[in-house]
């Protein structure tokens, strides 16, 4: 009964969504406040209905109701409670429902916290959001209904894919979707602006917090996904340039560009049309990502069980939204007036450079991801574009970006002083080179390019510190005054500096791991010892074990350095009984920021076992950097100026009001 209620709530949600998609837009055209107000209540009601529906599905998973086909396919009563719960989105249908839940969550947030938005803009934004939710509700109800029943109900489920039985599933998809789908708000704002034919600095101020929030979640989500793949898959890699990874990375690149261009628009009213275009592109890339993952058109390690109707349905959604948005853009963008002027060497110029590099980088990733698809359609040749392509193109593109990052904040708006920026940064550059050489020496050499790479990472970090140093004017005033000035800086200044520093930390980690990581594959017998990264690993033998829904063979390794035992780890091969599916659980030992990674292979006839051992120096920097970036976003978001729903101070004049709107306000 409760299941049917959940299903019914979803159908009702579609009806509500269609109402919100149509009536408020008519209201906005006619200036009818009552119709516009429908958008607010409708969006909140929509969120309530979808939450209920999602709650019902979660309940069905938690109590293991195998009369639901979806639960039967993806759950098992012996699974620990946490995986029965997270299993809700460990499959296509459930994860689409989560996608939808987050979409309507953002709509409701705009509805509740957007009190200070002009009523027409708010109605238009919520209307566009409702178009998206209507499309996805239709998609779920018609092709991916999680509430399909089975009769008779099976006694036991087929278990969740073992790879997904991990804490990573509890964290990664929700964070990723909060990012992916959060950009829908920017998209809706862009479409609303195009419909109204009016856009100004206030628009950018409304859009920026949403962009920042989505970007922050996406950053954390991608990092979490990368770490999950690293420790769970047992291949020791942290990024594979897999189409599905690229699908999440492209919106991140475009979103990062959007974050910076919205800054220019907010402060200087320049780059308006470009910002609108970026907002559209970012969410289009999110939709494209959803399509690539769900349709199975590309070979990827992330395979959802796919069926062709779903692919075609999402392709239709994709073409309608992206096509429609770009058509609207082409038609209405000329109405938007161009903004402020600036010299090529200026803060704006630096942000344009940032946008240029990031969008070109996005385009190269897009090319590499879709090229196999295009070539197969055109010529029938099947190819794969692998890591060498991406490392070469994307890697080279990142060099000028990394070098430019510290300069951007040092340049003044309108007209900057490059020489002055050099003078302020040469200390940071010198220190960076010194730090890189120290690390190089500590790691006993390696390619000379690595020094430059690490120096670039340090330069970005020290540059962020220098930025705060000069903003507080420590070079001009006494230390005490400097501290007071530092404390008085807006939070967004700290947020920006933190995010840049985090980027530097990630760069550092990537360069160091790529250069200094070692890998060895050895056949080990009980009692044998091998060396990796300056540590000695002794294999103490295998042992059989069992978990709630799996059996395992696990090997014990003692790790010592200089004859002193410092750590030990288990590495195992598991067999999940319900699906008869094996997995590898790597043994990972952390030393500071570095890790020793031990993965088991096959048992040999001779009684030994193949063991693969990686030494991954400073690998944690890669993810810590991303976490610092996300924290930077959070700090920036807490800035009063950007706080969602905080009452706007009247001091700042809002751009020319639309005639006829004052009465409504």
């Amino acid at each position: 009964m409760i299941i049917e209620l959940g299903h019914y709530a979803l159908v009702l949600a579609l009806a509500v969504s269609l109402v919100v998609a149509i009536l408020p837009l008519i209201g906005a055209r006619r200036g009818d406040l009552a119709l516009m107000e429908l958008a607010t209540r409708g969006s909140v009601a929509l969120f309530g209905l979808v939450t209920f529906s999602f709650g019902v599905l979660t309940w069905a998973y938690v109590v293991s109701d195998f009369s639901l086909k979806n639960v039967w396919e993806n759950s098992h009563s012996a699974m620990p409670l946490i995986y029965r719960w997270t299993g809700v989105w460990g499959n296509h249908e459930g994860s689409m429902l989560l996608w939808l839940l987050i979409l309507v969550f953002f709509s409701a947030m705009v509805a509740l916290f957007g009190r200070n938005l002009p009523p027409t803009l708010k109605a238009n934004v919520l209307g566009v959001q409702a178009w998206i939710s209507s499309a996805f509700l239709l998609f779920i109800l018609l092709t991916s209904n999680p509430f399909t029943r089975l009769n008779p109900a099976p006694a036991e489920g087929q278990d969740l894919n073992p790879v997904l039985q991990d804490m990573g599933l509890a964290i990664h998809p929700p964070l990723l979707y909060l990012g992916y789908v959060g950009f829908s708000v920017c998209f809706s704002f862009a479409i609303a602006a195009l419909m109204e034919g009016r856009i100004d600095a206030a628009w950018a101020r409304w859009v920026r917090p949403w962009t920042l929030a989505a970007w922050m979640f996406l950053t954390a989500g991608i990092a979490m996904g990368s770490y999950w793949a690293y420790y769970e898959l047992g291949w020791g890699g942290w990024w594979f340039w897999d189409p599905v990874e690229n699908a999440s990375f492209m919106p991140w690149l475009a979103g990062t560009a959007l974050l910076h261009s919205a800054l220019v628009m907010e402060k200087r009213e320049a780059l308006k049309i470009w910002t609108v275009l970026l907002a559209i592109m970012t969410f289009s890339l999110s939709l494209l990502g959803t399509f690539l993952v769900r349709s199975g058109v590309l070979t990827s390690v992330h395979a959802f069980a796919t069926d062709p109707t779903r692919g075609i349905f999402i392709l239709a959604i994709l073409s309608v939204f992206i096509g429609g948005a770009f058509a609207l853009f082409a038609w209405r963008a000329p109405l938007l007036t161009a903004g402020g002027l600036f010299a090529p060497i200026s803060r704006e110029g630096a942000l344009v450079l940032n946008n240029l590099i990031l969008t070109v980088a996005t385009a190269t990733v897009l090319t590499g991801t879709l090229y196999p698809l295009v070539l197969e359609t055109l010529t029938g040749d099947k190819i794969s574009v692998g890591a060498p392509f991406f490392n070469l193109t994307f890697g080279l593109l990142m060099i000028p970006l990394i070098a430019a990052v510290p300069f951007g904040p040092m340049l003044a708006w309108k007209r900057g002083d490059l020489l002055g920026a050099f003078q302020r940064l040469y200390v940071a550059a010198g220190l960076a080179l010194l730090a890189a050489l120290t690390l190089y020496y500590a790691e006993h050499g390696g390619p000379v390019l690595a020094v430059l790479g690490m120096a670039a990472g340090f330069f970005v970090i020290f540059g962020a510190v220098a930025d705060l140093f000069y903003r507080a004017a420590f070079n001009k005033v006494s230390v005490g005054t400097g501290w007071r000035r530092l404390k008085g800086l807006p939070r967004s200044a700290f947020g920006g500096a933190l995010a840049h520093a985090g980027f530097g930390v990630t760069v550092l980690g990537v360069v160091a791991v790529t250069t200094f990581a070692t890998e060895k594959v050895v056949e080990m017998k009980q009692g044998m010892t091998t060396e990796a990264g300056g540590y000695s690993l002794t294999f103490d033998g295998m042992q059989a074990g069992a978990g709630p829904n799996y059996t395992e063979d696990r090997g014990h390794f003692s790790i010592s350095r200089g004859g002193v035992r410092v750590a030990d780890t288990w590495s195992s091969k598991r067999l999940y009984t319900a699906r008869r599916q094996p997995t590898t659980e790597a043994g990972i030992v952390t030393f500071g920021l570095s890790q020793l990674y031990v993965s088991l292979g096959d048992a040999m006839d001779s009684g030994g076992i193949v063991v693969r051992i990686w030494w991954k120096p400073t690998i944690l920097c890669i993810w810590f950097g991303a976490v610092i970036m996300a924290i930077g976003g959070l700090v920036s978001l807490s800035d009063r100026r950007l706080r969602v729903g905080a009452p706007k101070r009247k001091a700042r004049p809002v751009a020319a009001p639309v005639p006829g709107l004052e009465a409504a306000e």
């Binding site: 395979a303 070109v360 090229y371 997995t583 693969r612």
Partner: protein, 149 residues
């Protein structure tokens, strides 16, 4: 600088950057891609030694042999033709005889064994690499209900 000059500087700079990026992408596409072959394709048109390719098919029954240390040899088949493959490293968890597989690597001159450096793993045992599924269906060797289920 006048307004026009400023705009021109920015546009020219941007364009040259984009041009450079396009050239880079074209160069990298020439280097960094691997064509997909099935054993039957190789029988018809052998690839020159040293060219990176992907070889896909089914792991032939009874062909997996573990040599010294971590080197494994097995054969990839499409039902009619078979290519021996040698791989050093850990095989993915779901690597089994009779299952679909995609390997990446190259042929050394004068040796008929394919030297693979990557054996693609899968997340899910019901998943068949798309290229393999399409081609095996064309040949009628494997009949999956749906493309990848």
């Amino acid at each position: 600088m006048t307004r026009k000059q400023k705009r021109l500087t920015i546009i020219a700079g941007g364009m040259s950057f984009i041009m450079a990026a396009v050239l880079l992408v074209m160069f990298a596409l020439g280097q960094g891609i691997a064509y997909f072959y099935m054993p039957g394709d190789l029988a018809k048109t052998p690839v020159p030694p040293g060219t990176r390719i992907r070889l896909g098919g089914l792991v032939a029954e009874g062909s997996i042999q573990r040599g010294n240390g971590s080197t494994v040899t097995f054969a990839v088949t499409d039902g009619t033709d078979t290519v021996p493959v040698s791989y050093t490293g850990l095989l993915p968890d779901l690597f089994r005889e009779g299952q679909g597989v995609v390997t990446e690597g190259k042929f050394e001159a004068g040796i008929s064994t394919f030297e693979a450096d990557t054996v693609l793993a899968k997340h899910d045992e019901t998943y068949m690499p798309k290229e393999v599924a399409d081609r095996l269906k064309d040949k009628g060797v494997w009949k999956g209900g749906e493309a990848t289920q």
